[in-house]
């Protein structure tokens, strides 16, 4: 079938947010991913969350590595700067970007190969530095762009299309994050936008690195029977740890989740995150408890989704380094250069 360009005309009746922007204003260029690719659903959730959050598109910076997932950055927020960097290095470039300007919303999109294979070291150190950004792993258990090799998130026993089973134990970004001191951990499923949107909004408000692992099936290379990252498998094994609702720092507060059994976390920017735990005893602010829950669930073959862990109290990169409120890149030269008098004082004379 000949491919067709998406018509640029906007639907006239679309709702506008307080900036006067419709949801289309948060879209990007037309996706070139395979029809049905989970990544496109993640894009849709991001677009939705950004529109609801009413973020001015140009105050967003989008970053990614290389992979099918990395292409996602082109498909939302066309009014934002984007940087499609190199395979596995997005975390480092995002760190530098965040260092230069602490005031933008950074959204990093990565793949399981990009983040857990070639980029694992950088992801680990990004977590430790608690760089304030939303970091989404579009996790499909394979290398999509290079045509279906196992990635490090492939489960033991999951098979390739040809039926070869994976033997190497997987890396779970959530457990990894917990062991490295991550301050926001969530898992979603590309097929469940209702759950994903509030998670993304909470992540954007988080004071530090918000890591979201989204199971995002690769229909072309890893959606067969035998794969544990397929739509079917994920639907059957998805157990929700928490349901979250996100309340922006606005005069009126509308909560869509009933108040009993709810943990409320006030975010850095004053917004309120309400998390309802689905298993009775689940507390997303108890690192030990979360770790245990994840381990037991993994052993049982469950894929736990929801906002899994949150810590709004730890310092982020800028707080650790005690940098000025003014973004570094905006400080005028006159305040940076000590001037001739000071210079005359250097060297042994």
């Amino acid at each position: 079938m000949p491919s067709i360009e998406k018509p640029p005309i906007q639907h006239p009746g679309l709702r506008r947010n307080s900036l006067g922007l419709t949801i289309h204003d948060y879209e990007g260029s037309m996706s070139t991913l395979c029809a049905g690719c989970g990544h496109d659903s993640v894009t849709a959730a991001i677009v939705h969350a950004l529109w609801e959050m009413e973020t001015p598109p140009h105050r967003i910076a989008k970053l990614s590595g290389i992979g099918c997932s990395a292409k996602t950055t082109a498909y939302f927020a066309r009014g934002a700067h984007g940087f499609n960097t190199a395979h596995g290095r997005m975390a480092t470039i995002a760190t530098g970007a965040a260092a230069a300007n602490r005031d933008l919303l950074y959204i990093g999109i990565s793949g399981d190969g990009d983040s857990l294979s070639i980029g694992l070291g950088h992801l680990a150190h990004l977590i430790r530095r608690n760089v304030r950004m939303v970091y989404i792993i579009e996790n499909n258990g394979v290398y999509g762009l290079t045509k279906g090799q196992f990635s490090p998130s492939a489960d033991v026993g999951s098979t390739t299309k040809r039926g070869d089973p994976n033997q190497v134990p997987p890396i779970d970004p959530m457990s990894l994050g917990l062991s490295l001191g991550a301050t926001f951990l969530a898992r979603g499923f590309s097929g469940d936008k209702r759950q994903l949107v509030p998670i993304i909004k909470a992540a954007a408000a988080h004071r530090g690195l918000a890591l979201i692992d989204v199971i995002s099936p690769c229909v072309t290379f890893n959606d067969h029977e035998g794969s544990t990252k397929s739509y079917l498998f994920t639907r059957h094994h998805d157990t929700t740890a928490t349901e979250s609702d996100f309340v922006p720092p606005a005069p009126e507060i509308v909560a869509s989740i009933p108040v009993e059994g709810v943990v409320s976390v006030t975010m850095h920017d004053g917004s309120v995150l309400r998390v309802r735990s689905v298993p009775d005893d689940y507390d997303p602010t108890d690192r030990e408890g979360v770790a245990e829950h994840l381990r037991r669930a993994h052993a049982a073959g469950d894929v736990v989704t929801g906002l899994l862990y949150i810590d709004e109290s730890s310092a982020d990169l800028h707080e650790m380094h005690d940098t000025t409120d003014q973004p570094l890149r905006d400080i005028p030269f006159s305040q940076l250069c000590p001037g001739s008098a000071v210079l005359a004082g250097f060297g042994v004379r």
């Binding site: 934002a80 940087f83 530098g96 230069a100 400080i331 000071v342 250097f346 042994v348």
Partner: protein, 610 residues
């Protein structure tokens, strides 16, 4: 001022009225010898004598041989020499080798607490034994002081032997230990112990002694890593990322100290800088790219292995046209090589770093003064040309103390931030913004920064792109961008520092780079005295400015003097200028020690004779 001698190795130093003295101190590292070495350096400097110190230290923390070489030369020649007037041989393990390096007629100070191995003895040098360890054991109580003070005791003897101004040395101690009286007193005591011992037991001063001169007016003594750090401070760098590696670590250490002092808001205590110790060099360069893309002046410093690891992302910065500044303090390669030894061995690697067609702007400072200057200019170049700029220093410039003119700063100076469209320009813009279209005469296109205005948005990518910034696999669109990148690199030739040229209209010239400068200039004097007049050019940047081509055109033969095996600077000249290959010949010295004039003279003569 021409020295009365043929080659530095054969001259009998110390006899001339012009001071020309070389001493070497042999020690074990981790025993505190560096403060005594510095004391001597600074004393010579304060006496107004041109001086240089070359620290030959091991890649290890404690217990291995370490040397410090000081040359004092009234004519201002500060290159390394390989024969010494005075050897302070405090490491028994290297006695044999150390004694070999004394010139005939020279002197060896040794610690006579232990007997001297007779097999190392030479009859043409004088031995000045002093029971240093024993003196310290008698004078000091703590084991630590007993070890540390040996260096000061022998320093005292050197002061007496060379007629160094004792007051200057005492004052230096007083300054150093200001507010720490006990320390000052014990050091002064140790100094005098050695001083008095020498006066009593040896013929002080030796014939090769020094006297006060007026050679250092307006000058300072400083190393290139410190001045580079100063340069980055003054250039307004706010983000730096690094991974520790010898010999570049002291650059970032200095930058950190400077920022703590000059970039902390006195009222709020908040910092206007962010220095990140990265997890590796791939991360360092990534952080710098991210910060620069986002509008901060950002840099990293590293050495050879780090450059290798940065290769991929250097290509990303080049192709996305992101300004980045990288300092490579070169050390002896390949691989881990000799981390504390000097070379200019990364020239080719840096010029063409990364796979595919890439070419970068390189700056080659020749001394700490230029480290400062080029550090500042590196950002102007990187931002004007929106491309990586690499400053290639080396161990000798970066870590050794050099006498340079006092650093100055023009307070009217404003940085060249290159073509950046701000909010005002973007707001009133009607036509769409194209990231890679509409270049200026330097082939540079205006960039925009994230967060400024929705009209400025574009998508940066390391994959094939057209002038709009869109993804492309279409040959013509791809070519448009990469061809402009080549033109842009060529255009930078007009903006980079010109070479340093000293011409007397000779037909033959020496061409060199970096820390080789002093040795090559001294060699020119020596060869001139031998009836071989030579012109001089020190390359200071790549792409080569037109002055480089002109100079090459004006000479029948140029000997390219550099410290690497593969004639890397010569290679770059061959490839990137129009000079015929056979007009460029090589003089190479790459054992890892700073260059001496003798090596240059020998190298040139060997080729002139064939």
């Amino acid at each position: 001022m021409v020295l009365e001698r043929l080659a530095p190795e054969t001259a009998h130093r110390g006899k001339s009225r012009v001071v020309d003295l070389a001493i070497k101190l042999a020690n074990v590292n981790g025993t505190g010898s560096s403060s005594a070495n510095n004391l001597l350096m600074q004393a010579f400097f304060r006496m107004g004598l041109p001086v240089s110190g070359k620290n030959l230290f091991p890649s290890n923390i404690q217990g291995l041989p370490t040397w410090y070489e000081i040359r004092v030369n009234g004519s201002g020649h500060t290159a390394r020499v390989s024969q010494f007037d005075l050897m302070v041989a405090m490491n028994a393990q290297t006695h044999a080798q150390d004694i070999r390096e004394v010139r005939a007629g020279g002197y060896v100070v040794w610690d006579s607490t232990w007997p001297l191995d007779q097999s190392a003895m030479r009859s043409d040098v004088s031995y000045l034994g002093m029971p240093v360890a024993q003196m310290c054991n008698e004078a000091f109580r703590s084991p630590r002081a007993r070890t540390l003070m040996r260096n000061i005791v022998s320093c005292g003897a050197v002061v007496a032997l060379l007629a160094i101004d004792l007051d200057i040395v005492s004052n230096l101690l007083a300054e150093k230990f200001a507010g720490k009286d006990t320390l000052r007193e014990s050091n002064q005591h140790a100094l005098m112990l050695g001083y008095e011992y020498a006066r009593q037991h040896f013929d002080c001063p030796l014939p090769c002694h020094v006297h006060v001169m007026d050679g250092n007016a307006g000058a300072i003594l400083i190393d290139g890593n410190t001045t580079a750090a100063l340069g980055f401070l003054y250039a307004g760098a706010t983000v730096a990322a690094w991974y520790p590696i010898t010999p570049s670590t002291s650059l970032m250490d200095a930058f950190t100290q400077l920022c703590r002092r000059y970039r902390r808001d006195p009222e709020t205590g908040r910092n206007s800088y962010l220095i990140l110790q990265a997890e590796d060099e791939l991360a360092s360069i990534g952080i710098v790219i991210g910060a620069s893309w986002n509008g901060a002046r950002a840099f990293t410093s590293t050495s050879g292995p780090g450059i290798s690891l940065m290769n991929e992302l250097i290509g990303l910065a080049y192709y996305t046209e992101t300004p980045v500044v990288i300092v490579d303090v070169q050390r002896a390669g390949p691989s881990t090589g000799m981390p504390t030894r000097t070379q200019q061995g990364d020239i080719l690697t840096c010029a063409y770093a990364s796979h595919g067609d890439t070419k970068h702007i390189l700056l080659f400072p020749g001394d700490p003064a230029e480290c400062f200057d080029f550090a500042v200019r590196s950002f102007d170049l990187a931002e004007r040309f929106q491309t990586p700029v690499m400053m290639l220093s080396d161990v000798d410039i970066g870590m050794n103390d050099w006498v340079i003119p006092q650093l100055t700063w023009d307070d009217a100076r404003v940085p060249d931030r290159g073509r950046v469209l701000g909010a005002k320009e973007l707001e009133k813009r009607i036509e769409a913004y194209d990231r890679y279209a509409n270049p200026d005469s330097d082939h540079v296109v205006a960039r925009t920064l994230p967060g400024v205005d929705p009209k400025g948005a574009y998508f940066a990518r390391g994959s094939g792109h057209n002038e709009h910034g869109g993804y492309t696999e279409t040959p013509e669109e791809y070519l448009e961008v990469v061809d402009r990148l080549a033109s842009k690199h060529a255009a930078a030739a007009m903006r980079v520092p010109d070479p340093q040229i000293e011409s007397r209209g000779a037909r033959v010239a020496l061409v060199t780079v970096g820390s080789c400068g002093p040795a090559v200039r001294e060699a020119i004097e020596l060869l001139d005295a031998q009836g071989l007049p030579l012109d001089y050019m020190r390359i200071r940047a790549f792409p080569f400015s037109p002055a480089v081509q002109d100079f090459l055109d004006d000479h029948d033969t140029c000997f390219v003097v550099e410290q690497n095996r593969d004639a890397q600077l010569r290679s770059l000249l061959v490839l990137e200028t129009a000079v015929p290959k056979d007009r460029l010949r090589s003089v190479l010295a790459y054992g890892g020690t700073p260059l001496s004039a003798g090596e240059v003279v020998d190298g040139v003569r060997a080729q002139m004779e064939t």
